[in-house]
């Protein structure tokens, strides 16, 4: 990919409930951290790309750019899209086109401000016809799991293992989050807890299978390759990125057991990055549910169709910090994933990027993964809606 954009700084807030903070306070916090990280001044910014999934609904905020303009006293071009990844896409395109050299990408969400109506909003935005029929934000994940079980004929002992494997996804992500000071849930859980919550709910998935509702913000500074060196010795490059789109109505899609968007975006992102799948060592997937993490491993090509649960199950019998897939190591959701790190929609992608950047720079502290040194390549998958949009980013550290 020509004119590789470089991430020179990242910043984020803790995810969770921020009752006392206005949305703009959160983005301010994330942006200040990123700017300190790289020693960037607000006047250096040539444009801002923001994302929030539904601040206009949760907080009755429109023209979110205006708030940022007030905070930074900047009058540069600013645009708002729905996900951090979509904002980053626009930023990358602009940098690659040579339009700007230094831009801010930020994401924000304030979901707990609309606690009582949030599930109706989420469902209606995600898939209106399903909402009208009585769907909940959880139900589509469960239907996907049911479709998966039926398609691959998983039963008996295998079904028990699959159920445990999904529980292990959650346990593993919670374990990772214990080392993440920004995570919403920095505590361990057990497989029994996950299974009991399902039993209590009398459903295929329970409380511990789903990512929480969160507030939070994240930000990064993206520059052109040339300019990057002014701010950091260790820029992380966007080697390849791609996105894809699918139907809004989940039942109407061709295949209920996969997210086509992830498959397409990954294929194109790899092609642009010019690396092989298994050169990726660190992966952040969009685990809105444990099922999503399992399915994503298949969608992205790391596991065979119908087989991801086996790799998860085996890896988690004696978990060593990574999934072992066909003898190869894959570090997945080191920040705790959406499950434990939190999922403030518009900011979530920023936290995923944040984690991979930190890992590639060797600045992830207690969470740092070492594979013959710091990892070279990392990958982020972010989805919008229930797989209606998919974004894949392939990032490379200085050694890449």
């Amino acid at each position: 990919m020509p004119n590789r954009p470089a991430i020179v700084a990242v910043g984020r807030t803790k995810f969770g409930e921020h009752y006392e903070k206005e949305p703009e306070k959160l983005i301010e916090e994330a942006w200040l951290r990123a700017s300190e990280d790289a020693g960037i001044e607000r006047k250096d910014l040539e444009a801002c790309y923001l994302s929030d999934y539904f601040l206009p609904i949760t907080n009755k905020l429109g023209l979110e750019e205006g708030f940022l303009s007030e905070l930074t006293e900047l009058h540069v071009p600013m645009e708002v899209t729905r996900s951090f990844s979509s904002a980053l896409s626009n930023a990358c395109n602009a940098i690659q086109a040579g339009r700007y050299n230094i831009v801010l990408v930020g994401g924000i969400e304030k979901m707990t401000d609309r606690w009582d109506k949030i599930r109706d909003d989420l469902m209606l935005l995600e898939d209106p016809w399903s909402y009208y029929a009585g769907c909940t934000p959880e139900a589509n994940h469960e239907l996907m799991l049911r479709a998966y079980i039926r398609k691959y004929g998983v039963k008996g002992e295998d079904l028990e293992k699959l159920d445990i494997a999904l529980a292990q996804v959650s346990v593993k992500n919670h374990l990772h989050a214990t080392k993440n000071e920004y995570a919403q849930y920095q505590r361990k859980i057990t497989v029994e807890q996950v299974l009991n919550a399902r039993k209590e709910a009398r459903k295929p998935l329970g409380l511990y299978d789903f990512a929480p509702i969160s507030d939070g913000a994240s930000a990064l500074i993206l520059t052109s390759d040339d300019v990057a060196k002014k701010f950091t010795e260790k820029p992380v490059h966007v080697l390849g990125f791609a996105s894809a789109t699918d139907y809004l109505t989940f039942p109407a899609r061709q295949d209920l057991t996969r997210f086509t968007v992830s498959e397409i975006a990954m294929k194109n992102a790899l092609k642009r990055a010019g690396i092989n799948l298994w050169e990726i060592q660190v992966l952040e997937v969009y685990d809105q549910s444990t099922v999503m993490e399992m399915i994503s491993l298949e969608d992205l090509g790391f596991c065979k169709r119908g087989g991801a649960w086996k790799s998860i199950y085996q890896s988690c019998q004696d978990y060593r910090g990574y999934y072992e897939i066909d003898g190869r190591r894959l570090f997945v959701n080191l920040n705790g994933g959406l499950k434990a790190d939190g999922n403030p929609l518009g900011a979530t992608g920023g936290a995923q990027i944040f984690e991979v950047v930190k890992q590639l720079k060797g600045e992830a502290g207690e969470r740092q993964v070492m594979i013959d040194g710091t990892p070279k390549y990392g990958c982020v998958l972010e989805l919008e809606g229930f797989g209606t949009k998919g974004y894949v980013y392939i990032l490379g550290g200085t050694s890449s």
Binding site: W129, A133, G134, A139, R150, A252
Partner: protein, 502 residues
């Protein structure tokens, strides 16, 4: 707060489950499209409209929802899933309705998946009392349970009659019952009301009659429990059942609601029959529906005595001059201003005049109408095979039948109040349907309705030979609904909750 345009658009597609098929590649879509996504511009004008209203689908996958979104909380827990039609060509989201999930009940999802389901027309979710009532047919029940799948086949008429009469009919009561003492009463599911019952009854009548819905020129819906003070049930019936020719989202049919307590429907029988008999009207068929989620105050409140008798259901009749199952021989109606039962505007429950509802009201009017009609037609009780009276309870119809000189074999077949309760506007029409279900050709039926306020309509009907051949077109006759292995009995608290609805 509701958005009227959104409500109109969602209902327009969702009530009938409208879709389309590309005539080039055969791809099908839920929702109407001007062109096929795969074939592109060349498919413009080559999209055929289809709908899934009379279709059956397969429940592909399902799960349990026990923490619904806000608008669905009154449904409690329910099974939710994905239904496919036409071998997976169309897939839609699905809520299983008519199924109460008990506290702690474990659902074996694999036992549900793969089973055939039928779309049901229901309330979509709860809204504020002042809002438009949202409806949808993305609610389903299993085809091998209470409500079987029935194809709607239009049958070309082959016999013309001189006088107008009944071409077909349908009775709909839900599968829920409350049983107290000797009386069993039908109870709506929480997403049902007089509107959904009217649509269901009309649907079943179309199936039974084989009449092309596009040829129905007028529909009357009699009800005293329309959830709207202003807005007809009949317009919903016309739209959902596609009565009259559809043109740009408008149905070429006259639709009107009528109200006269329990005779709101029977009163219109003569109007419907006259209309199809009037050459210049150019109306081949007309439909009359009586539907009620019969209202009653809670038992310990004023007017609460009614709570022991009220039922739920709808009954629809199609009138015409071809392929009749019963000809109308004559009628007589009478009216007096007798306030024995009433409900003031804005009040949720009716009041009644206690003892006053008997002699000066019910008996006086039914006696008058029955006697006058028999006198005019020169009939003795022995000339009549079946007698049908309005049925607010078991005692009243039996007493008047005996007084008029009818024997048990003449009045018992129509006596359905002990099976369904008083279905108000649907009460005597359901009794008539029960008789039509079993009558032989060339039998005479006398039906006398009663509506508080007060008045009665008496009709003499004579069955035709075609009553037999049409009978097997209906899988849901009255007896099937009265004695069904899938009936579900609920306690008093549940009954009140269900009746109150969403």
């Amino acid at each position: 707060m509701s958005s009227e345009p959104i409500e109109r658009r969602v209902s327009y597609l969702g009530d009938r489950l409208k879709g389309c098929r590309c005539l080039i590649c055969g791809k099908e879509y839920f929702e109407i499209r001007d062109y096929c996504g795969s074939c592109g511009r060349k498919s413009f004008g080559k999209m055929a409209n289809i709908d899934l209203f009379y279709d059956k689908g397969v429940l592909e996958v399902c799960t349990l929802v026990n923490e619904p979104t806000n608008k669905f909380t009154k449904l409690g827990s329910y099974v939710y899933g994905i239904v496919s039609f036409h071998n997976g060509k169309i897939r839609v989201p699905c809520r299983l309705t008519d199924r109460m999930i008990r506290q702690g009940e474990e659902i074996d999802f694999s036992a549900f998946e793969g089973r055939e389901v039928v779309p049901r027309f229901r309330r979509r979710y709860s809204v504020d009392r002042s809002d438009i009532i949202p409806t949808i047919s993305l609610a389903f029940t299993f085809a091998d349970e209470y409500y079987p799948h029935q194809e709607y086949a239009v049958v070309k008429p082959n016999k013309e009659y001189d006088a107008p009469g009944i071409v077909g009919y349908g009775v709909y009561t839900s599968k829920f019952r409350i049983k107290e003492g000797n009386i069993t009463r039908s109870v709506p599911f929480v997403d049902e009301d007089a509107i959904t019952a009217a649509v269901e009854a009309g649907k079943l009548a179309l199936i039974h009659s084989g009449v092309d819905s596009a040829l129905v020129g007028k529909v009357y819906v009699g009800s005293e429990s329309n959830p709207y003070a202003v807005k007809p049930i009949a317009s919903k019936v016309a739209q959902v059942l596609k009565l009259g020719e559809e043109d740009e989202g408008v149905q070429g049919v006259d639709a009107v609601d009528t109200e006269f307590a329990c005779k709101a429907a029977t009163s219109m029988f003569k109007d419907a029959a006259s209309l199809v008999n009037y050459p210049k009207a150019n109306i081949q068929y007309s439909m009359v529906i009586g539907a009620d989620n019969s209202q009653a105050a809670p038992r310990d409140c004023p007017g609460g005595e009614l709570d022991l008798f009220v039922g739920f259901g709808g009954c629809a009749y199609i009138f015409g001059k071809t392929d009749l199952i019963a000809e109308i021989e004559g009628w007589y109606s009478c009216t007096s201003d007798t306030p024995d039962f009433w409900r003031r505007d804005g009040e949720p429950f009716p009041m009644h005049g206690g003892r006053f509802t008997g002699d000066p009201a019910y008996f006086k009017h039914i006696r008058k109408a029955a006697k006058k009609l028999m006198e005019r037609l020169g009939l003795k009780p022995s000339d009549i095979n079946y007698f049908v009276a309005h049925q607010p309870n078991v005692q009243f119809p039996v007493r008047i039948a005996k007084e008029l000189g009818f024997k048990e074999e003449q009045y018992l077949p129509s006596l359905q109040v002990a099976n369904f309760g008083n279905t108000y506007s649907g009460s005597s029409p359901v009794g008539l349907a029960a008789v039509l279900d079993i009558a032989k050709p060339e039998e005479r039926i006398l039906i006398v309705s009663y509506g508080s306020g007060a008045g009665s309509d008496a009709y003499s009907l004579i069955t035709t030979s075609q009553i037999i051949e049409k009978r097997n077109r209906q899988k849901m006759p009255v007896a099937y609904q009265a004695q069904n292995p899938f009936l579900e009995y609920v306690d008093y608290t549940t009954y009140r909750r269900l009746k109150l609805g969403m």
